[in-house]
Point group: C2
Chain length 192, copies 2
DNA sequence: GAAAACATGTAACCGGTTACATGATTCT
DNA sequence: AGAATCATGTAACCGGTTACATGTTTTC
């Protein structure tokens, strides 16, 4: 059910259309939660029906209209309730480690390719996340700035600190994954 | 599609019934891939239909029968092909970090409880995984021993090394998660 | 004789993916 | 005029969860 809460989180800042949200999912929130258009539009309609959002048609150009969604009090309450509820951890289901456990079945080349892909995957994300932290530090994050505009000034350090903290966690995870995969490459050399 | 491959991996060691597999998913493989009975039994039937397994009814007691599944050559080939195929990484979807990014919305107590639950969650797994490594080191893992019995002796170090390597990766990840959550608790104290 | 373990299923539901589909507006 | 962007959907499918359901065998 996190998609709904990610949407609520975004709409606490300002009203948005489905397309606006889609762009956010491709940029900021997308780093922790991905959602395609085919999921967003139906979710918005369902959330409006459930009273979490209020939709309003806005004219756009000559003939066009778009629907702008505003979070309701009920939506805010739902988001706060979710924030105060401990998460249920999903069962372990990890294809990377599943494969690693049977690496003797792969050809050495395939095993190396797999580990290198693992490194490349996390390296790429590492750079994106580091860039995000730089943005936060230099005040260049427009979404964060809009969020800050909605909270009292003395709350700013908290808001900023948690965003930063989130990315630091993802960076630490990525670094651990890269280190692990590098040990794997060394292990393959040893065993050859 | 990893459920099928986890099943194939287990059946490369020896033929098993659905129930045997279920027990394995609760014990060894379960640490990297969870599967409930409601998923295993239908999967086995489908895999038999697809020629990856061969099922045979075995009498059990007076009136009972059970179905024992053996991996076919086609099943072995499929497993090897999977092992040699690079994994597609799923899109980011991480409720823990999603929540962390909006931690200013939670009450300080709820935020602390969340982080402590995060620590407890990984601490528990950490102990399970460390225990697994001890088992591997002392030769006390019966599943691993059965697997070793099916491979030539000079291959044993590889097989053992990859199992150990897998658990080391999960341990490193858990340690990173715990360290991150502890930094979070400290951050909450600072911001108070 | 009762409890624990062994054995196997069905069905409704849910969140997410992939592919397909369409049209308006703005910018160059 | 054409391209990029804005805007919004439908539908089939897939893997997984939860709840429901039943019967046998072995062990104490």
């Amino acid at each position: 059910m996190s998609l709904r809460h990610a949407i609520l989180a975004l709409l606490t800042v300002e009203p948005m259309t489905g397309y606006d949200l889609l762009k956010q999912f491709e940029a900021s929130v997308g780093h922790v939660w991905h959602a395609p258009d085919s999921q967003i539009y139906p979710a918005l309609r369902a959330m409006e029906k459930d009273g979490l959002l209020e939709g309003a048609d806005v004219t756009w150009g000559q003939r066009g209209t778009k629907r702008r969604y505003t979070i309701t009090e009920s939506g805010r309450a739902e988001f706060r309730a979710w924030m105060d509820t401990p998460l249920a951890y999903p069962r372990d289901r990890d294809p990377v480690h599943l494969k690693a456990a049977y690496l003797e079945w792969a050809t050495p080349d395939a095993a190396r390719a797999q580990l290198r892909a693992h490194i490349a995957h996390y390296q790429e994300r590492l750079e994106q996340w580091r860039e995000k932290i730089r943005e936060i530090e230099t005040g260049g994050s427009s979404m964060l700035n809009r969020r800050l505009a909605t909270v009292p000034e003395h709350e700013h350090p908290r808001t900023i600190a948690f965003k930063r903290y989130t990315y630091e966690g993802m960076i630490a995870r990525a670094e651990a994954e890269i280190a692990w995969a590098e040990r794997g490459l060394a292990l393959l050399d040893e065993l050859e």
